[in-house]
Symmetry: C2
Subunit: 440 residues, 2 copies
């Protein structure tokens, strides 16, 4: 039985409160030079030797000994079989989740401007932007203890909704153990090809291509420190998504919620890993005490109590604030990955939030509903990056090209302007190119 | 007088053509460990010592010896004076350019989905996404020989159109020499504060903040190898734009254009720097010969002939193709920063282009018009990254938060699904959080 957890308390009126808060948010950067050096070796080997290097590293790290990379591919019929062999309950849950995630991202494709546009000016000049899906995308799916079918849906479905022609998934299967739910999710999400490879060697294969594994244009999906270091290194050769930090939840309460629900929502973040962070902001000292009591009452029931206990002890915070308005200001400073607003009329507070990955409004919106099946993406910016970045979305799988068609009349007016500015910058060929289009 | 340039020729029917082409596109990565080590030192010093370190490095690198960082700030009235002191012709050119860039990006803000949206489901559950501009953005503007007022407009205007509250520009002024056009452009674009600092120390000041310089949420704008290395290092603490490589132009001709115009457009890329790349794709061998002749006839007139000659000799390519359809396929493989389609009916070929930063259609659309005043952004993806990234735009200065409000009824249906999936992933607190919201 776990011993009682005492969550660290802060009060917004403490001297130096904001400094204490911000320093509690940051983790020392895992800037491991040894990991980086190992990754460089793997990337270089795969780039130079292709399939042979992939086979070697897969034998070394995952203890899979095969003669050809093609033996590491799982075919669509095999994925379909994994799906068909699920229980009716699991199949239905996965179906509904996939369908809701797809519906949300289809709305997003329309609303978030993933379409081409153009306008014409009076002199016939036409300007606009053309939207094109990426040709080929790689999805990294972790194997072993953190193999999450929901992540397969969340990464692959937006790519397919965007119109990506080929989605290639890599998933390590140490000692050959495959997760049927992950394969079923890949089938449902429309993943085109699956290779059972992982680590930096999988990132390298996707970035550079090998004889068997085609190179992709962008790599998304979470992974361990080696995968993260490899993604950083191949950035530029291919696109990458954000490098994810430990998961975080911030709960704003006005004291009107069920403290057990709040405690369980904090647990559901804390159970991810010992570095995960759960924070409660509340003006009501009595309610904070109730949540603390709920934690100690509910913790012994939890199968992952040890992880939860470590996470809450190391990283959780209960912050007593002056009022809900101040809670919103502090929430903007924290810029949390997940923000729950468990209050009466949550919209009034949501309106004051500028920085958060996802905002869960009202007592019925537990973060776990969003994690699995509400529809929005569960890949969200961590570590205060919600100040400048967004949930994974359809917009991550398209890109834009500017479209410019200057008419003969337009070239006359624009040419004079461009010539003046180009001479001002000392770029005379730019000026001449514009001047040549002027009528004598 | 420069000696005649002979541009390297390729033919799409050559054996190993695609390999030769792709290897001609790539430059050895400037992965300079010495630069990176120097940058780490500067970043660490500025993070630890703030203003004092900024003053020290600015004295060391730019020979500016001042007592306080506030002396390095250029106030809005000083910017306005620089603008007012321009010649009428320059003032008008800058006005028109700023106005056209603003108009284009205002259309983009609407069309590219930079707005919040939401929808409601039958059971009252509401889902959507909230769009918020970034709070504060830093713009790096190079000083010295490559000080471009047009780049100030192209970086600052989309940020302001997005609604960024505070745009902070940094620009080194070695030995105190200020470029009045750059300051005037900052005034016109609505830049809020300007500091005359540069290099890795400016990136560090913007990323971490100092006593005088506020920290920003994202840093954009081009710079030298030190600036690029610093941006890579602070990525995650702040957002960054793409790391730009040498500029490139790809011209598709069917043989119907004026060869002098094409030659000058190739020059206007080549004059940027010796690593810039200019490529011509054309099915007509005679036209290629005419462009080669134009080059040698026009080159002696160019003030920047030495740079152009070096760039064309080192990196230019004339590629003879089978037909325009094949030219488009090759253009997709190249994924150029700038693509000119100088043909009859350029739209039919533009439709076949999937990968390019900007597409310039028709003989009157010289790239230089787009560089300065057509309206679209001139910050474009280089080095084949147009396969997965976009021109700088309003969308780079906003970010999204998912909005989720599950109704009590919605929590019943979604809760059952989430519970099944969470148990499948071994995350029991996630399951319990959903189950607690189910009615008994």
């Amino acid at each position: 039985m776990p011993k009682p957890v005492q969550v660290k308390r802060l009060n917004s009126q403490d001297i130096g409160f904001i400094e204490t808060l911000l320093s509690s948010l940051s983790l020392p950067m895992a800037d491991d030079e040894a990991i980086d050096a190992a990754v460089v070796k793997i990337l270089t080997a795969v780039k130079a030797k292709g399939d042979a290097a992939v086979l070697e590293f897969t034998k070394q790290f995952d203890r899979l000994n095969v003669a050809k990379v093609s033996e590491l591919e799982i075919t669509r019929p095999e994925l379909e079989r994994a799906y068909n062999e699920l229980s009716a309950v699991q199949k239905n849950a996965l179906d509904v989740a996939a369908q809701r995630v797809r519906a949300y991202h289809e709305k997003q494709k329309i609303e978030a401007g993933c379409h081409s546009w153009e306008y014409e000016e009076a002199d016939g000049t036409r300007l606009g932007q053309k939207v094109t899906p990426l040709d080929r995308v790689g999805i990294y799916v972790p194997g072993g203890k953190a193999a999450y079918p929901s992540s397969v849906l969340m990464n692959a479905i937006p790519a397919k909704v965007a119109g990506v022609a080929e989605v290639i998934m890599v998933v390590p299967t140490p000692d050959g153990s495959r997760n049927p739910l992950v394969l079923a999710a890949a089938y449902l999400a429309g993943v085109d090809r699956v290779f059972t490879i992982g680590g930096a060697q999988a990132v390298a294969a996707l970035a550079y291509g090998t004889e068997t594994i085609p190179s992709v244009d962008k790599i998304v999906g979470p992974g361990n420190a080696y995968v993260a270091a490899a993604k950083r290194r191949v950035f530029g050769t291919v696109g990458i998504d954000m490098i994810a930090g430990p998961s975080e939840i911030l709960v704003l309460c006005d004291g009107s919620s069920n403290p057990d629900w709040v405690a369980m929502d904090l647990f559901s973040q804390a159970e991810h890993d010992e570095q995960a962070q759960s924070i409660l902001l509340c003006p009501d000292a009595k309610f904070i005490e109730q949540v603390q009591d709920s934690i100690n009452r509910l913790l012994p029931e939890m199968p992952r109590a040890k992880v939860i206990e470590a996470s809450l002890t190391n990283r959780a915070l209960f912050i007593q604030v002056q009022d809900m308005k101040q809670a919103c200001e502090i929430a903007n400073a924290i810029a949390a990955e997940h923000l729950e607003i468990c209050t009466v009329d949550p919209r009034q507070w949501a309106d004051q939030i500028r920085h958060a990955g996802a905002i869960f409004m009202g007592n019925y919106t537990s973060e776990s509903l969003g994690d699995y099946c509400a529809g929005p993406n569960h890949v969200l910016p961590t570590a205060r990056t919600a100040r400048f970045s967004s949930p994974l979305g359809v917009y991550d799988f398209i890109k834009r090209s500017s479209m410019i068609e200057v008419s003969e009349a337009g070239a006359q007016t624009l040419g004079a302007i461009a010539s003046t500015l180009a001479h001002g910058e000392g770029l005379q060929a730019h000026a001449r190119a514009a001047e040549m289009r002027l009528k004598k």
